[in-house]
């Protein structure tokens, strides 16, 4: 059973990577988006904020990394919906293969592509003044946490994509996820938000992961008086990822296995 999962999962991972290789333009476009946002936000917004520009850009790099990771919801949803509505899912479901392999292969391939896309982003980050100010070990932990969060978000997306009524609906709902980081500390500090809004923003998983990355990279201290997931960002992030995976991975596999029956 598990060898079937590994074998079929690898085949499905290979399939997703072939798709990227066949159409690299799409992947490049997706991966350069956060770089564009770093330059826009960093220099346009940065010059309007009280925080000095260089300091804001250091603050922004972890925020954009996490906001991009949260896009795993959109990508996961869109790819899963595409497969469902173009008949690929049904063909695979009539084949004697592991039921978990298809979503797992998709999530794993997404992780490979995301990891590759993180490198140029961090290089641009370095060019605009962002630095790893903590230990190398902490920085590696930060990247690990980031990828774990991406992985969890992708499973959320796959589940939603399998439920979607059409590719267009999935695309629209997926695009709406760009709002998620706006309600977090990814682009702005939450300290000055009105009380209730601050609570909402700090319970946004993106805030916990962003705070953890800022802490581990040594870019900004953990803010005082924040909600629990932000006040304990590493534990909070791990907890969020565990919850998302525990809920959405089984749901996605179940939905994939049974379809609309």
């Amino acid at each position: 059973m598990s060898s079937t999962l590994a074998y079929d999962g690898t085949a499905m991972l290979g399939r997703q990577l072939l798709r990227v290789r066949n159409n690299p333009a799409l992947a490049i476009l997706t991966q350069t988006m956060p770089i564009t946002m770093l330059l826009f936000f960093g220099y346009v917004f940065g010059s309007a904020l009280a925080m000095p520009g260089a300091e804001y850009r250091s603050f922004l790099v972890p925020g954009l990394l996490v906001a991009t990771a949260a896009n795993g919801i959109m990508t996961g949803m869109f790819q899963a919906a595409q497969d469902v509505h173009r008949g690929v899912t049904d063909r695979l479901r009539t084949m004697p293969m592991s039921r978990a392999a298809v979503p797992l292969g998709q999530a794993a391939a997404d992780l490979v592509v995301t990891t590759a896309g993180t490198v140029p982003f961090l290089l641009v980050g370095l060019a605009v003044g962002w630095r790893v100010e903590g230990s190398a070990a902490a920085a590696i932990a930060a990247v690990g946490l980031l990828l774990l969060f991406r992985f969890a978000c992708t499973w959320v997306g796959i589940f939603l994509g399998l439920l979607s009524r059409s590719e267009e609906a999935a695309g629209q709902l997926g695009s709406a996820t760009f709002m998620l980081p706006l309600l977090s500390n990814a682009y702005i500090p939450t300290d000055n938000l009105p009380g209730w809004l601050r609570t909402v923003a700090e319970w946004n998983p993106i805030s916990a992961v962003t705070t953890a990355l800022r802490d581990l990279f040594g870019n900004a201290p953990v803010p005082d008086g924040a909600a629990w997931p932000v006040a304990h960002p590493v534990a909070g992030s791990l907890a969020w990822c565990a919850v998302l995976l525990a809920v959405f991975a089984p749901l996605a596999v179940r939905r994939y296995a049974h379809g609309e029956q």
Binding site: N23, R86, M95
Partner: protein, 318 residues
């Protein structure tokens, strides 16, 4: 000699909310034959195929495909079947070759690369093998779909409207492939909207209407159910009733009039009625005849007639 059935279903039922898509589908497809499933849109053809290919679970009833229970041995069923349909498709972002290799791997085919090349050649796709499938024409795409379902030679092949939307040449290619597969001993279950397709390919036809099999039989048996349509055109409206009287004697069927054309028609199940006899009898009765014809029914007639009977519950003139 006992018949082995590749597909045998009893009382399959499937409901989607309030809609009863299948209400007791009984189907028996002997091994090595081609069974055509015909029916109007919404009759339950696609639901039937989705159930029999393990994509949906039945609410009631049971079925065995290639000897395996559909629900309890779904994995074994999946190993024995191939599916090509409106919904079961290949990945348009992968090339033809990449698709076939992927499916070969998932089917644990030995030498998936060679198997892919063989199938590409067999379906005339070698030149297009390295282009994304999304760029293929409708006919090429359908051939690739079919090749993908044959990666591991299936015992039972399900083709859900395999030629819908194809030009005649591409349709012919698919037909040839189906005939070849049948010769190799593959059992094929085919749904189609084209009666000609069923006539050409199917050994047996199951006419599905509102969730159950309304009639089964070979194409010629189904045509015999309908009988031959006899039509005469007369010179003068006044003699139409007289002509109808002669037709009534000859055919025993209910005459139907087309006053605009001065014609009257009727259906006969008497296979001995010939055109010369029809003309002689009408002439002897003094009917000024302009035209007369005997039309053996097409499957279209069968289809329209039998589904209309089902829905109105009474005989309808052919």
């Amino acid at each position: 000699m006992t018949t082995t059935y590749a597909v045998l279903s009893e009382g399959l039922e499937k409901r989607f909310g309030e809609v009863r898509a299948l209400r007791g589908l009984d189907l028996a497809v002997p091994q090595g034959t081609v069974c055509g499933i015909l029916g109007p849109n919404g009759a339950g053809k696609t639901t039937a195929v989705r159930l029999l290919t393990t994509l949906l679970r039945p609410d009631a009833g049971s079925a065995r495909v290639a000897g395996h229970d559909l629900v309890r041995e779904a994995a074994a069923v999946r190993r024995a079947i191939g599916v090509t349909g409106q919904y079961a498709s290949v990945d348009g972002d992968l090339t033809g070759r990449q698709n076939l290799r992927l499916f070969g791997r998932l089917h644990r085919v030995r030498g998936p690369a060679e198997r892919a090349d063989d199938l590409l050649a067999r379906f005339g796709l070698t030149e297009a093998a390295d282009r994304p499938a999304a760029t293929y024409s409708g006919g090429m795409r359908r051939r690739l779909d079919l090749a993908a379902s044959l990666i591991r030679r299936p015992d039972v092949l399900f083709l859900d409207e395999p030629t819908t939307g194809l030009d005649p040449a591409s349709r012919g290619d698919i037909w040839d492939a189906v005939r070849e597969l049948k010769q190799d001993g593959t059992t094929i279950l085919l749904t189609t909207q084209y009666l000609e397709e069923a006539d050409q390919l199917a050994d047996d036809i199951a006419l599905v209407d509102r969730g159950r099999v309304a009639h089964t039989g070979s194409p010629s048996q189904l045509k015999a159910l309908i009988g031959t349509y006899v039509e005469v055109v007369v010179a003068d409206a006044d003699v139409l009733v007289q002509a109808a009287g002669v037709l009534d004697q000859l055919t025993g069927g209910e005459p139907s009039f087309d006053h605009a054309r001065n014609s009257v028609g009727s259906v006969t199940r008497d296979t001995t009625l010939t055109l010369p006899r029809l003309v002689r009898e009408l002439d002897a009765a003094g009917v000024p005849l302009l035209d007369a014809s005997l039309k053996p029914p097409t499957l279209d007639d069968v289809f329209l007639r039998l589904t209309a009977e089902e829905s109105t519950g009474e005989e309808v003139a052919a």
